[in-house]
């Protein structure tokens, strides 16, 4: 009985292959986008974890020289012999790879090449056997050393014994820093007594980077969920339709004695089989998406946050679990109400299939109510959201509320148009469109979400780009940047600049804690460069005068937000307490900044010596660089011209959004697919409705044209409604989510041309999706249309 009943249920799909395809494809696409995004996230996180477990130097306090320079390893021995448990580190560039030298014997537990296996020659590692550990990708860049592959090491990082690193980097006897182990012995002599030239740098805790990269992942996850939601709309539609069409069959099966419980069980089993098949396809699809996008994500994260992510993809069991899990969850979500309907259906009622439109009446009211509630919540959140969670809650309520509101709103618009229509054909067109709306509404909701996401994200990207470019012009005002590596070079540079009438602006900073936040203090020379180029978000009228007079400071927006500092609030730097005179935008910088005049800076940080300088070069930069090298011995590697920095910064920035753009296009494609599938499904059902129109003299090609026109009209209406939603989405991203994630707000700019182009794309998607069904309609054999009358019930 069970087997026969199951076969009967499944036979429906044999008769409706398009529906089956819609169901499976929708679910697979949704799962694919979701798991692709998850895969990227998981891969990136795994990369951080690898980096963290290999050499998480930031986890430990460290001792560094006050001037930041390298120091002799005898300091290490002195400290050890005084009882301090410290471990030396040295790092430097080797063939473009960051080579880190460690002492495995004194390093904190868990540090060092993590996969020391039986075949590792540890004696060779320790005693200058020319051994370096790196992952396979990094290994391919290193020549002349015996590279052992350690897959857990982060990209662009190689680890060697400290003695080996000193040799490879040509820095014999030197170390950069000493890690301070967490458990020190009792009764240690004070640092000032044994190593007065060193200063203790507290552990970074690694949370800043984690917070920033989290926000990026959260962004990706939001897009993954959005795509998934679009896909679930499709699946919901397909399942709802299939269950609707099988009501007769259900009635028959139950009349034949199949218990309701078993019937529900069978239908559930059927859905789960579909979920499994679609889930597997989806995860595979997700792998492809992730593999295509991952290099860009890696580049983005590296560029924005300095976080190293491997550009290669590894298949992880967690994706399969998460992908299949979401496929099952989505199927149950989409099929739940349909199953519930079947479970509550009286045994002999509902013998005839209800028209979808009939059910829609009651549903519409409920839907409008839910939409209003969600939009009301969104409205409240818009004024109260202050974190990532509430920000994303705002996004969610806004998008779902708007999607739910779409069919009732479209219905009202169509009713209005219908009332205004003149002529029989026009009236029929509007009425028929309203009749079709329930069947298309899920696809249209998907389309609206896709368009809105596109508008929102492109607004954010373009606003960011505009702001960022302007910001670079302000902040990289000096024509040439020079770094020196000794006091002699600095003196030579200053002498050279004086002889050429070039203004030298030192860039010197110290790390401090301000209002409980880590921040950098910059000691800045009074010059028109700052007064002319820096734009304040808020400032007192004489902000720069007060600052350069040593009477005030200016701070960046990040510090102002995180430290809750406003104009006039006091900031304490060492023994100095000054009011905030201005707040400037500082995009892309994770930590707080304070700009202090040069003299008070020198008083507070007597040991900080400027090693970087901005040069205001009046004429041609290249000639000055040549002369500078000749006069001072400062190499080309120590100078950067502004155009170079700008180009690099912009390139990094461009890549950041490649991923977002790619996901946008995919989302739009999925929405187009939803329309296509909805129209194909409706096409067969619509023959009885079209046959009378045909019988009354409308040609099939006229009917086809009207079908196409309808799709375009609906797409235009949807796009028009998506525009305000997209702008609202952009506002949430810029003013709420960005502030929560990055600590700064971006001004929002509008880009009507971009929106028009997006609308064009949406239209194109609708036309492409509607084209084939319309073409099929125009080719419907007259016999099929006639049969409608022959078979009339």
């Amino acid at each position: 009985m069970t087997r026969v009943a199951f076969a009967a249920l499944l036979s429906h799909w044999g008769r409706n292959p398009v529906q089956l395809f819609t169901l499976l494809a929708g679910l697979a696409l949704a799962t694919g986008l979701w798991s692709g995004v998850q895969a990227i996230n998981a891969e990136a996180r795994a990369s951080y974890d690898a980096a963290a477990s290999t050499l998480d130097e930031g986890r430990y306090d460290r001792l560094v020289a006050r001037d930041g320079a390298a120091f002799g390893q005898d300091v290490f021995v002195t400290l050890r012999r005084a009882g301090w448990l410290v471990s030396p580190m040295l790092s430097g560039d080797l063939d473009g790879v960051r080579l880190i030298g460690i002492d495995a014997l004194t390093a904190p537990a868990g540090m060092g090449p993590v996969t020391l296996g039986g075949d590792v020659n540890l004696a060779a590692f320790l005693t200058g056997g020319n051994q370096v550990f790196a992952n396979a990708l990094t290994a391919s860049r290193l020549d002349g050393v015996d590279v052992l592959i350690s897959p857990d090491l982060a990209d662009h990082t190689a680890v060697a014994d400290i003695g080996m690193a000193q040799r490879l980097l040509d820095r014999a006897g030197r170390i950069d820093s000493l890690l301070v182990l967490p458990d020190q012995p009792r009764d240690l002599p004070p640092l000032a007594q044994i190593a007065p030239d060193l200063t203790l740098q507290p552990a970074q805790g690694g949370t800043d980077i984690a917070g920033l990269t989290d926000s990026f992942h959260l962004n990706l996850t939001a897009f993954g969920l959005l795509s998934f939601a679009v896909g679930i709309f499709i699946v919901h539609g397909a399942i709802g339709l299939a269950f609707e069409q099988r009501r007769g069959m259900v009635r028959t099966l139950r009349a034949l004695g199949l218990p309701l419980r078993r019937l529900i069980g069978l239908m559930l089993a059927e859905l789960l089989v579909f979920a499994l098949v679609a889930g597997v396809i989806g995860v595979a699809l997700g792998y492809v998406i992730a593999a295509l996008l991952l290099p860009d994500v890696a580049a983005t994260l590296r560029g924005l946050y300095g976080a190293d992510v491997s550009g290669t993809l590894q298949l992880r069991p967690s994706w399969w679990a998460s992908g299949l899990g979401i496929a099952f969850a989505g199927t149950l979500l989409a099929g739940g109400s349909a199953l519930w309907g079947i479970a509550r259906m009286p045994l002999l009622a509902a013998a005839q299939p209800r028209a979808l439109a009939m059910a829609a009446g009651r549903r519409a009211r409920w839907q409008m109510g839910a939409a209003l509630v969600l939009l009301a919540v969104a409205f409240v959140l818009a004024f109260n959201a202050d974190g990532l969670v509430t920000g994303f809650a705002l996004l969610g309520t806004l998008l779902i509320g708007a999607a739910l509101a779409l069919p009732p709103v479209l219905n009202a618009v169509l009713a209005f148009a219908s009332g205004r229509a003149r002529g029989v054909t026009a009236q029929w067109f509007w009425a028929d469109t309203r009749q079709q709306l329930p069947g298309l509404s899920l696809a249209l909701m998907a389309l609206m979400l896709a368009i809105a996401a596109n508008i929102g994200v492109s607004t954010m990207v373009s606003s960011f780009r505009l702001t960022f470019t302007g910001f670079l012009d302000q902040r990289l005002a000096s024509e040439l940047y020079v770094s020196t590596d000794s006091a002699e070079q600095t003196a030579a540079l200053i002498a050279f600049a004086e002889s050429r009438g070039v203004v030298v602006l030192p860039i010197q900073s110290a790390d401090v804690q301000i209002a409980g936040q880590p921040a950098e203090v910059f000691g800045t020379r009074d010059h028109a460069t700052y007064r002319d180029n820096w734009r304040f978000l808020q400032s007192t009228p004489d902000a720069w005068d007060a600052t350069f007079a040593g009477q005030a400071v200016v701070i960046n927006e990040q510090l102002a937000r995180r430290g809750a500092l406003g104009l006039g609030d006091m900031v304490t730097i060492g023994s100095l307490t000054l009011p905030v005179a201005g707040i400037y935008g500082d995009y892309g910088n994770p930590i707080g900044q304070v700009v202090l005049a040069e003299d008070p800076f020198a008083a507070q940080f007597p040991n900080v010596e400027a090693r970087q300088f901005g040069l205001r070069v009046p004429g041609e930069v290249a000639a000055v660089v040549t002369d500078l090298t000749a006069a001072t011995g400062i190499g080309a590697g120590q100078t950067i011209d502004q155009a170079g920095i700008k180009a690099v910064s912009l390139a990094i920035f461009e890549r950041t959004f490649t991923v977002t753009t790619a996901l946008n296009i995919l989302t739009l494609a999925v929405a187009g697919f939803a329309i296509l599938m909805s129209l194909l499904t409706l096409a067969a059902m619509r023959v009885p409705q079209l046959a009378p129109a045909w019988a009354m003299g409308m040609t099939r090609s006229a009917l086809g044209r009207l079908e196409l026109l309808r799709a375009v009209m609906l797409a235009v209406l949807t796009a028009a409604l998506a525009l305000p939603l997209g702008l609202a989405l952009a506002w949430v991203l810029l003013a709420v989510v960005n502030v929560a994630a990055f600590g700064w707000q971006l001004p929002m700019y509008l880009f009507p041309l971009d929106y028009a182009r997006l609308g064009g794309f949406a239209l194109l998607a609708a036309v492409l999706a509607a084209g084939w069904p319309a073409w099929r309609l125009a080719r419907t054999p007259p016999g099929d249309l006639l049969k409608v009358f022959a078979n009339e019930r």
Partner: protein, 341 residues
């Protein structure tokens, strides 16, 4: 760095681990001890880099003014990856320091690791100084200063020798197996010790007796030997006994003993003369009660640990703690057991 890697550290270049801490591993390029040694002091108090393994191993039985007993350990191990010394980080000489203080209820342990060649750890024969980080054992062997610190304990001690050095086996050539593995082995068992223990509960002034072992070799264990049980016993009548049992994979044992009179005269006892028998193990399966018999001297005693949990949870783990004994004789001493992890 994990324990596995650390044990790897202690291994020679090409061999696979055998016996406790790889001490049963074949040697290549390293010198091996030969019979009839001629010692050269103070030079031989210093390191012998051409031998693979060497230690300066001090244990002490202490008591405070109230008579509360304590045990103390200060050990510096040298383990060579290659049979030479070199300047800087290229040195193949690895150093490992272990310090411990044992009370009746607690056992404090600290460990330090270092490479030779950079000055962080080493031993100089004359004037004698053995150190790793801030831990040190220094002086002229008549008087030695000793200190060590851990996260929760430390000590500062002064040692003075009240007797001569004693040589184990045949004049300091101590055979470890029937196959002929051997080490150079001498001791100073006559140290009187006094100083301060720094414990979490406060400083404690203590006095007592200390025993310093010097041993070096390249393959002290045969390849079928998995560990040892080593006893140093101080009899109340002034005599002393050093005895050890080497465990073999075939279930047999190899024993050796040295009887030391109060004047420092020694009598070596070859395999079989000393018999040791575990009587009771602690919760971790390590024997903490033993019966020791040396019929040639009329010795039949029961040895009991002061604290059953004197486990050295170091990168190469073992048990080391103070003991007392009863029976035909009585007194106190130290017990070391390896190969039980």
């Amino acid at each position: 760095m994990n324990a596995k890697a650390l044990i790897l550290c202690l291994l020679p270049v090409t061999a696979s681990a055998q016996g406790f801490a790889g001490l049963g591993t074949e040697v290549e390029g390293f010198s091996t001890p030969a019979p009839d040694p001629v010692f050269d002091f103070p030079a031989d108090h210093g390191p012998h880099p051409d031998y693979r393994i060497e230690w300066w191993y001090l244990t002490a039985n202490l008591e405070d003014a109230d008579g509360t007993p304590y045990g103390l350990q200060w050990t510096l191990f040298r383990s060579a990856l290659a049979p030479y010394e070199a300047e800087g980080w290229d040195s193949p000489q690895l150093w490992m320091g272990h310090a411990a203080v044992t009370t009746e209820t607690e056992h404090f342990v600290a460990e330090r690791l270092a490479r030779g060649g950079i000055g962080q750890a080493g031993v100089v024969a004359d004037p004698f100084s053995a150190w790793i980080d801030d831990w040190a054992l220094e002086g002229d062997w008549q008087t030695l200063q000793m200190r060590a610190t851990g996260a929760d304990f430390g000590y500062d001690m002064t040692l003075s020798a009240a007797g001569p050095l004693v040589f184990h086996g045949e004049g300091g050539y101590s055979v470890k197996s029937a196959a002929g593995q051997a080490s150079y082995y001498y001791s100073q068992p006559f140290f009187e010790i006094a100083g301060t223990l720094h414990l979490p509960t406060g400083d404690v002034e203590v006095t007592g007796n200390a025993w310093l072992d010097r041993e070096w070799s390249s393959q002290p264990l045969a390849d079928n030997q998995t560990g040892w049980d080593w006893f140093s016993l101080l009899f109340d009548d002034g005599n002393k006994l050093m005895g050890f049992r080497l465990q073999q994979t075939d279930g047999m044992n190899y024993t050796s003993a040295t009887w030391i009179t109060a004047e420092g005269e020694t009598t070596p006892y070859a395999d079989g003369a000393l018999q040791v028998e575990p009587l009771m193990t602690n919760a971790a399966g390590v024997p903490v009660h033993w019966r020791l018999t040396l019929p040639a001297r009329g010795v039949d005693v029961t040895v009991e640990a002061l604290n059953d949990d004197a486990w050295m949870a170091t990168s190469v783990p073992y048990w080391e703690g103070p003991v007392t004994f009863q029976g035909t004789h009585q007194g106190r001493g130290y017990l070391e057991m390896t190969g039980y992890d």
